[in-house]
Amino acid sequence: MPPNPPLDTVSSAGVSPVLEIQGLQKAYRTFLGSSRAALDGLDMVVERGDVHGFLGPNGSGKSTTLKILLGLVRADAGQMRMLDRPVPHSLPEVVPRVGAIVEAPAFFRNFSGRRTLNLLAQAGGVPRHRVDAVLEQVGMRERADDRVGSYSLGMRQRLAVASAILKAPELLILDEPANGLDPAGIREMRDLLRGLASAGTTVIISSHILAEIEQICDSVTIISRGKRVAEGPVAEVLAASAVQGEYRVRVAELERAVEIITESGLPVTVAGDHLVVGDLADPTWITKTLAAHDIWVAELTPLADLEDAFLRLTGTAPQPGGFRPVDAADATPESRTIEVETS
């Protein structure tokens, strides 16, 4: 493969991105010689200060990408820059500014949470007072001296996040940070990440909880089968992947609204507590028409959320009558790649 040109991207804001990946390739080989491509020329850019969602179905190459970035796995080809330095070459210089958890974090079960963090702080030359600060930050102060073996999955996840933010990093890379957390824990995690982002930390989150990503992220990269299929600000990715003319309409009197819309010849279906209206060239028509019949529209939105966009872009929408095989070869994503210019 010919070498890629050097990465020297500068964003429109005049600030170089925190992370740039170009043409990243990786195939895992077995002892018997067969190989499976995990990454197939992945490109990715994360701007400074963003909370960036990194999405993809199981086996799409998310964890491999993060592991390559952090020096745990070697790439076959491609270039990467993190915090303005080429990696993995300059990883030892960059790592003190990067906090990360990759896949399911694991710790010694018989060490306490505090001892675990103290050992990491000692190994990384981080002041001890940071340990108490992060334990407080992730809500673990009360359980800090208990054995990790006695922690729930959610508590271990908090400990992992604590270990990642121990260095007060400029870039935080989190693989499934909300894994195992209860709803309150998810909200706390969201607040924590927002707090870090508002303090200037760039956060990259790989997650399957798409509603959470939609709420918290400024931008996303969606990958499928080792390639990027969409990237850009969340709202624009959603808009670009929405089915043209299909809208969610929420009103108080569903049956009357269906009658009125059907009379006009537009396709309409009741979906739970709202309607889905198709072939709508001008959405204001709905507002005007229903208002003329004293029906007031409470919600009128293009029918696309991140889950819809994700399933459509990655070709992983569930099919009736069975389960889709993980990393299925026939799961062909839409051929188009959505790239949205950042303003």
Binding site: L70, V95, V102, A106, F111, L119, A123, S163
Partner: protein
């Protein structure tokens, strides 16, 4: 330095390290109690009898050795049918302690006691070394650490250095307690015996070799667990080696009529390292005209040390190579 300090804390905070050390201290207690219970101080009559036997046996020993030395330098002709050991090595000169069989004599029995300590410390080193790095791999601790210190060789080297130094320190402490325990038993219910300066030196060197065998065990365990990324890999490989190779080759080489198959077994070099020389078969025989060797294979402690060092170095080289090349998936 921070990393080494952190690893040092981790080594001594681990339950396996503490539990294994407690187990070997327990073994020492059991062995010491057994010695203490079965020993008694010799009576005056027993001591006099032992002195008399030692004097008689010592005279024979001196005469035999003198004859052998005279034959070796050609001063006299060898006696017909008489065999002489290589280098006229008749072992140590018999002393009174040798004839106090029913009592515990530290001077006479210390080699066997310290060989026992060597086996215990070798196994201890193997388990601690293997578990120290194996648990790091299986728990994800190694991956975590590499996220903080992405210098693989440096991280593995720090862990290895800490494991070997830690095991050496614990082995030295153990041998001090071990020596104290058996000297105590000997002084209360047996005899210590008189040690010359040379014998004390020999004893201390034996202790050094015993401690280093513990370090060798730690290096091998560490290397195997690191290559296999699991403590069980090291334990499995160790057991497989003992059962399949040590026993299997003994049988296979015997069937193939290979001379001295013991020289292909690591255990022979461990024996050579501990006992200073391990003789496999053969003897030094003289006829009317000349003295000659009738074969045999000797493994000296220096050669043993070299072989054991090479084995450890090769395995550790494999561990560092695997660490450098592997994807941590």
């Amino acid at each position: 330095m921070n990393l080494v300090r952190a690893e040092w804390s981790r080594l001594f905070a681990r339950r396996v390290t503490i539990a294994t050390f407690v187990v070997i201290v327990g073994l020492l207690a059991v062995i010491a109690l057994a010695f203490g219970a079965s020993s008694s101080s010799p009576t005056v009559e027993e001591q006099e009898r032992a002195n008399q036997l030692a004097a008689e046996a010592g005279a024979v020993w001196v005469a035999n050795r003198q004859e052998c030395l005279d034959v070796e330098r050609g001063a006299i002709a060898p006696r017909a049918g008489r065999t002489y050991p290589e280098d006229c090595d008749y072992g140590h000169q018999p002393q009174a302690d040798d004839f106090l069989d029913y009592g515990f004599s530290f001077k006479r029995q210390w080699p066997e006691i310290y060989y026992t300590a060597a086996i215990i410390l070798g196994l201890f080193g193997f388990i601690v070394g293997a578990s120290f790095v194996g648990a790091e791999w299986t728990s994800g601790g190694m991956t975590n650490l590499l996220l903080w210190r992405p210098q693989r060789a440096h991280v593995l080297g720090a862990k290895l250095g800490v494991a070997l130094t830690g095991v050496l320190g614990m082995a030295v402490a153990y041998l001090v307690v071990w020596t104290g325990a058996f000297l105590g038993i000997a002084s209360v219910a047996g005899s210590i015996g008189h040690f010359s300066a040379g014998e004390i030196g020999s004893f201390l060197l034996a202790c050094v070799r015993v401690a280093l065998l513990g370090v060798f065990g730690a290096a091998v365990g560490f290397a195997l667990a690191s290559i296999g990324r699991h403590t069980a890999m090291a334990l499995g490989a160790g057991i497989a080696y003992l059962l399949v190779y040590e026993l299997g080759t003994l049988l296979a080489f015997s069937l193939m009529d290979v001379d001295y198959p013991e020289r292909f077994r690591l255990s022979s070099y461990v024996i050579g390292w501990l006992t200073k020389r391990y003789d496999i078969g053969g003897s030094y025989t003289c006829n009317e005209l000349d003295c000659f060797s009738t074969g045999g294979y000797s493994i000296a402690w220096g050669e043993s040390g070299l072989v054991l060092g090479l084995v450890a170095a090769v395995l550790l080289g494999g561990a560092f190579l695997a660490m450098r090349r592997r994807d941590l998936t």
